[in-house]
Every structure is written in C-alpha cells, then in structure tokens.
Amino acid sequence: MMQKLKNTYLGLIVLFLYAPIGVLIAQSFNASRYRGQWTGFTWDWYVSLLGNEDIIEAFGNTLTIGLTSAALATVLALVTAIGLRRLGHRSRLLLRGMANVPLLNADIVTGISLMLLFLGLGLRLGYDTILMAHIVISLPYAMLCILPQVLALDNVCYEAALDLGATPFQAFRKVILPELVPGIMAAYLLSFAMSADDFIVTYFTKGAGIETLTTEIYAELKLGVHPEMYALSTLFFVAVIVFVALLLVNYRVISRYRQAGRRQRA
C-alpha cells in the first residue's frame, strides 16, 4: 500500500517533468496545423524541415559555433585550472568564486552586456561575436568540470613519472593529461550543450542576417504557427537525449576512476 503510493508519486513527478515534451512531440506529428485537434499522424512537418534552407543554414551555424566555442572554452579552462592549482588557497578560492558568478547571472544580462561590449569595441555583430559570446558563457561551465579534477590530481603520479626518468614535459603529457581526459570530455560536452541551447545571448549578439537553431525557431514562431518548429524542437530534444547518453558514458568512466581511487584509499 505504502509502496504503491510511493510509486504513484514518483510516477507523477516523472509525468510532471515529461508531459510538456510529450505534448510537443505529439504536436509535431499532428497532421493538423492547429493545436487541440488531432487529424492524423504525419511526417510532413519533418519532411518540410529538410527542404527549408534557412533551417539547414541555422543548423550549420549552431554546429560550427558549438564545436569551435566548446573547444576554445575547454582549452582556456584547462590552462586556467592548471594555473589556479599552483596558487595559494585563499586566492584560489577567490578566483573560483569569481568564475562562478557568471554561472548565476541572468542570461539576458549577460547578453546585453556582451552586446554593449562588442558595440563599444566597434565590432560588427555577426558570426564572430556569437562565437566569442558563447566562449564567455561556456567558460565557467568548463571550469566547473575541469577544476575539481585538476585540484584533486595527486602530485605523486607526477613525481613517480619523474622518478622513472621522465622530463617534466613528458610527465605532463604521458601521465597528467591522460588522467584528466574524463574531465576534459565533460567540459567539452557541457560547453557544446551550453552553446547549442542558448537563445538569449545569441539573440543579442548575432546581428542581422545570421541565425542559429534557437533564434530561427523563435523567429519563425513569432511569425505564426509553424508545426515545422515543433518538429525541430522535437529533434532538438532527441539530440539532448543522445547527448545525455554520451555524458553518462563519460560519467561512468569518471566514476570508475573515482572508485579505483577510493579502493586505493580503503
């Protein structure tokens, strides 16, 4: 009885979290353009998506901006984390705190700030400014993934490598870097997700004539009801699921390392 009640509750929570997306998916297969009337199943909206050149172009932009900004943010985060490692405890805490503030700041504030900065620097808003903006918003997340691992790194492995005849550079490349792979992967994946998901920062820094998927969806929906956009959003959601699967695999790797560490300690 108690057990049944609990399962019902947990089921309701899951429903609560997933009902919206369920409605969206349903709508994307609805033959009717209009909500509330189900006139049959159709792939039409997906098909017409593929024929829409604006969307294909926006997809390209999302992909290239995401991949590039994630790579740059990850490298910056890695170098910064290693720099922070050597700092004293107090200044490290301060810098960590400072890196976390932008995480909490409202995206709209970040977007407006970046727009003002770019315009103040005399830059023309476009692809490049989106890219820079995305690095700025991804960097704190990348730090969040990489920093704990870098700080937890034990000097012992580095010293063991020196002891066995490695130069400091060899020790870094052959011992330290491989130990950090899970954190680097997580940082890259999360940075990419931040870039691809972002709407408002992109909106303020993109200028005219260039769209990413999120701004394209927004623009089309403002013009009227577009079931193609429901289809696109559904695809977006599916991409997220795939993405989470990737993260989970990566998380497994991390936790295997962690467990091994714990066993060593025990």
């Binding site: 012992v156 492995c157 063991a160 020196l162 002891d163 005849g165 130069t167 060899q170 491989p178 300690r265």
Partner: protein
C-alpha cells in the same frame, strides 16, 4: 658492511620557517637494508625525498658513490622510489606501468618484455601483465609499484611507507616478501616507516629519528636492547623509564634502592634515565624482591599477561607468561644485565615521546 654508497652531509631543510632537518649526517652502504624510523613529522620522509631529488636541501651535500648529486634532477638519479600510495598510472595496465621507465630510456621491445616478465615473477604477480591497475587490491598495486621501480635497475630503492595503507595480515606478508626481494636483487633499500615492529623485523640498520635529529643508528637488536636515550626506549617497544642516579660504575640508585647494573663510564652521582623492559622483570615473593609492591591490574593479552604493579612509588608494567592475582603483594627482581642506563637528554628533542 660493504662500501659506502650514499652519503648525506650536514643537511639542513626547513619549510615555512620550520626546521625539519637539522645538520643531518647519514651514510648508507652498498647492499644495506636501512630503515628510517620515527613518529610523523620527524623528518624521515623529507630525508627520503632529498635522496630521491624531489626536494633540495637548504644547505649540505648529498654524495652518491663520491659524486655530488645534491642538485641533480630526480629523473637523472640512479635511484627509484616506491611511494606510499596512489602512484600507479591508472590509465595504463600493469605491463605499461612497469614499462614506463624502460620505454623512456628507449629499450628494445624484447628487452622490455623480458624485464616485465621477470619483475612480475619477482613480486609474485605472474601473468598479471594486462590487468587493469584500478581493479587491483592495495597489496597488488604496491607490488606493481615495486616492479615498476626495480626494472630500472636502480642502485638504491627508496620506499616511503609502502605498506602503511595495507591491513595487518597483508602488511606482515608483504614485509616477508620485501626482505626476499631485497635478497634476490642485492641492491640497497632505504625504507621509511613509523611502525617499530616493521623496522625491527626487516632491517639491517635502523635509524631512529625525532624532530629532525637522528636519535640512534644501529642494528634492530642494539636499538631495542640498548637504547641511547629515553625517546628511543619509549618509541620502540613498551618500557619502564625511571629517573635514577648513577652512584658509581655498576651501581644505580633507583626509587630509594641501590641496584647493581653493568653500565660504566657515567661518572659518580650523575642523574640518568633508567630503562627496564617489562618482560625483563621477575615477580617473586615480597621478601625476595628488590622492590615490594601490589598488583593493581592484570590484563590477559594472549601470549602474555600485562601486569601493572605499584612499587616504590612507580607503576611498573611487567609482562609474564603466567597469570597473577590482582591485589596480591609481590616482590620485583631486576637482573643487572637487563638494566639499561641512558644519559639524560641534552635537548628537549630527545625527550620521551608523550602519548597523544
């Protein structure tokens, strides 16, 4: 003893203004099993790290086979280290860990393969080439760490409390194995531990350290039976340590009695520390003892009984094979040869370690 291999001369080292090692001199011979023993913070690990090249001394020299290696980088030294823990490379399997040093030196594939096979056999892990090191037990990991160090054929193997993370039974069996490996390789071992049992049962030479000073260097037997000061006596084994006065050669005044002993050369009427091991005290009839006292507590420990006896104003710890009745009056007898006389400490560094 074989010829001198490693020599530390007048080493000073401090961290953040705290002196960790003070004018340390130490000579290590070829093929010696030397153990640095002391409580945490005594400077034993720092000494090892200086030899390994992971720290530089503030002043002083380190000589290897007559050559000054004080400022040589760790990767250039003819020594290898087995660390306390966590030191295996977790993204490599056992064989790749062992091969790490050899690959850097550009050895041939067949040479490396033979070496891995030999080293795994030596540490009793035949056939574990492709085992993931993260899946191994603590004892197996330390064996791989030993194998990884010795394939580089170091002249000296440094071991920094390598067994401290293992449980008692495993630690004891690894102690036996390490001694076996040492004999087979015929190289010098410098071993760091805070466990006196471990130090006594494995080493040729024990170096007892406290607060950056060497307190005593000697064989396990001499360190145990003839401690040079109260710190060593108290740190190694259970002891009764009592304030006494050397009346003249071979006679010590102790808790109101003049007791014969065998030590000479302390002078007349000099205050000394007197050490008597609990197993060296005989319990007898009150009338026959040098001291007369009452049994306060009897605790059965398995092999022996720990008996606390209050006599002459001191609570003696006595160990016996047979039990005794609590509350009974007894006598205590001390054989002259079992009384160890020690000079009073010149500085506070040599004072007996206090229980925490």
């Amino acid at each position: 003893m074989d010829k001198e291999l490693l020599k530390l001369e007048h080493i000073n080292k401090s961290y953040d203004g705290k002196q960790v090692l003070e004018d340390l001199d130490l000579t290590i011979h070829e093929n010696e099993f030397m153990t640095l023993l002391g409580p945490s913070g005594c400077g034993k690990t720092t000494t090892l790290r200086l030899i390994g090249g992971f720290e530089l001394p503030d002043s002083g020299r380190i000589l290897f086979d007559g050559q000054d290696i004080t400022r040589l980088r760790p990767e250039k030294r003819p020594v290898n280290t087995v660390f306390q823990k966590y030191s295996l490379f977790s993204h490599m399997d056992a064989a790749d860990n062992i091969a790490f040093g050899l690959k850097l030196k550009g050895k041939s594939k067949s040479y490396i393969r033979d070496k891995i096979k030999y080293a795994l056999k030596l540490v009793n892990l035949d056939g574990y080439e492709h085992a993931s090191v993260t899946q191994m037990s603590g004892g197996q990991q330390q064996r791989i760490a030993i194998a990884r160090a010795i394939v580089n054929e170091p002249k000296v193997l440094l071991l920094d409390e390598p067994l401290s993370a293992l449980d008692l039974k495993l630690r004891q069996s690894m102690q036996r194995e390490l001694v076996k490996i040492k004999k087979e390789l015929g190289i010098t071992f410098v071993f760091v531990t805070h466990d006196q049992q471990e130090a006594l049962s494995m080493s040729d030479t024990v170096v007892v350290m406290n607060q950056g000073w060497i307190q005593q260097i000697g064989t396990p037997e001499s360190v145990y039976n003839e401690p040079e000061n109260a710190f060593v006596a108290d740190f190694i084994g259970d002891s009764n340590i009592i304030d006494g006065m050397m009346v003249r050669d071979k006679l010590v005044h102790l808790l109101g009695q003049d007791i014969p002993c065998i030590n000479t050369g302390f002078g007349e009427n000099v205050p000394v520390d007197v050490q008597i091991r609990p197993e060296d005290i005989q319990i007898c009839e009150p009338a026959n003892g040098q001291f007369r006292g009452v049994i306060r507590q009897v605790v059965f420990k398995g092999t022996v009984y720990d008996i606390t006896i209050e006599a002459g104003g001191f609570r003696w710890l006595v160990q016996t094979i047979t039990g005794h009745e609590q509350g009974r009056e007894v006598g205590l007898r001390l054989a002259a040869s079992n009384i160890q006389i020690m000079a009073k400490p010149a500085s506070e560094d040599e004072e007996a370690a206090t229980d925490e």
